[in-house]
């Protein structure tokens, strides 16, 4: 199991690739190679996010725990050094 920092950085790497591919596809919507890469990284990102949310809490409000204690508001917040 990866620690929180490693898992977060993995998600940031996938998201960086996905965001950059999205902007590229905005102006090149017929590029099959870019779409294949997008599909590949999206799948890998989904797995990493599932892992992260399960162990370290929600990245988005919709992923919050509703069984024990509402954990969406829990820090550290992204601008704090401890969150990075």
């Amino acid at each position: 199991m990866k620690n929180r920092d490693e898992l977060l950085h993995t998600i940031q790497r996938y998201d960086f690739a996905l965001y950059d591919l999205m902007l590229y596809l905005d102006t090149h919507p017929k590029c099959r190679h870019a779409m294949q890469l997008y599909a590949k990284y999206r799948k890998q990102r989904e797995e990493a996010v599932k892992d992260y949310v399960e162990h370290y809490g929600p990245l988005m409000a919709l992923q919050s725990d509703t069984t024990k204690k509402w954990n969406w508001g829990q820090g550290p917040y992204p601008w704090e050094k401890e969150a990075n």
Partner: protein, 210 residues
């Protein structure tokens, strides 16, 4: 609609406080070529764009600029943690401190508060996309200047990332501008407003001959 994701786009982890650099870098929050003006420029310009591609691109880049605003704010926030009384008086940080303490306020490095006058929404795709390309270069040049003012690797790393994104956005805006121009009469791009005039770019030659 927007939804918040509780993470930075790229990590910011600054060990040493540096109020001098905080005061300089804060220009990329609320300064003339900062991330706030970038985001508002694109998110406001998108409504009058003539094609789905340019509407989409401005939405997505405008959204990414909000993530950059959060990154620059995180840099300034972390640079002003645990300041001593001596730190506050050093290098003129006292002038920021007296109004904002260590809060994050959108202003330029010289203290000029943020203003929407930093950007324009012309409602003309060629005018707006040309401004957007210039804006990306001005932001890139500002990040270059910031890199000249520090040797702290904790600052340099995220600033280099932000600089690189300006270069990518410039490239995408260049493609968007070319796509708009390709839909017009190549002999005169400026005969009409492609976002407003009906039939702009169509049968220009015939219309002139009448």
């Amino acid at each position: 609609m927007w939804t918040y994701e509780k993470r930075l786009q790229y990590p910011v982890r600054i060990k040493n406080p540096d109020p001098r650099m905080a005061q300089v870098i804060c220009s990329q929050i609320g300064g003339p070529d900062g991330e706030l003006t970038a985001s508002l420029r694109y998110l406001n310009q998108r409504y009058s764009m003539p094609s789905d591609k340019t509407k989409g691109l401005l939405t997505d880049i405008g959204t990414e600029e909000l993530a950059h605003l959060e990154m620059v704010s995180a840099i300034v926030y972390q640079l002003t943690r645990n300041l001593s009384e001596a730190d506050l008086k050093k290098n003129g940080f006292d002038k920021y401190f007296v109004d904002h303490a260590t809060g994050i306020y959108p202003a330029s490095a010289a203290g000029v508060p943020f203003t929407a006058a930093y950007f324009q929404v012309k409602g003309d795709a060629i005018a707006d996309l040309t401004e957007d390309m210039a804006a990306e270069q001005k932001a890139r040049a500002t990040y270059d200047n910031i890199l000249r003012l520090t040797d702290d690797p904790d600052i340099i790393d995220p600033i280099r990332y932000l600089r690189q994104r300006e270069v990518v956005h410039f490239q995408r805006f260049g493609e968007a501008l070319r796509m708009v121009q390709d839909s017009l009469d190549a002999r005169n791009f400026y005969a009409c407003n492609p976002s407003f005039d009906k039939n702009c770019g169509k049968n220009m030659c015939n219309r002139r001959m009448k």
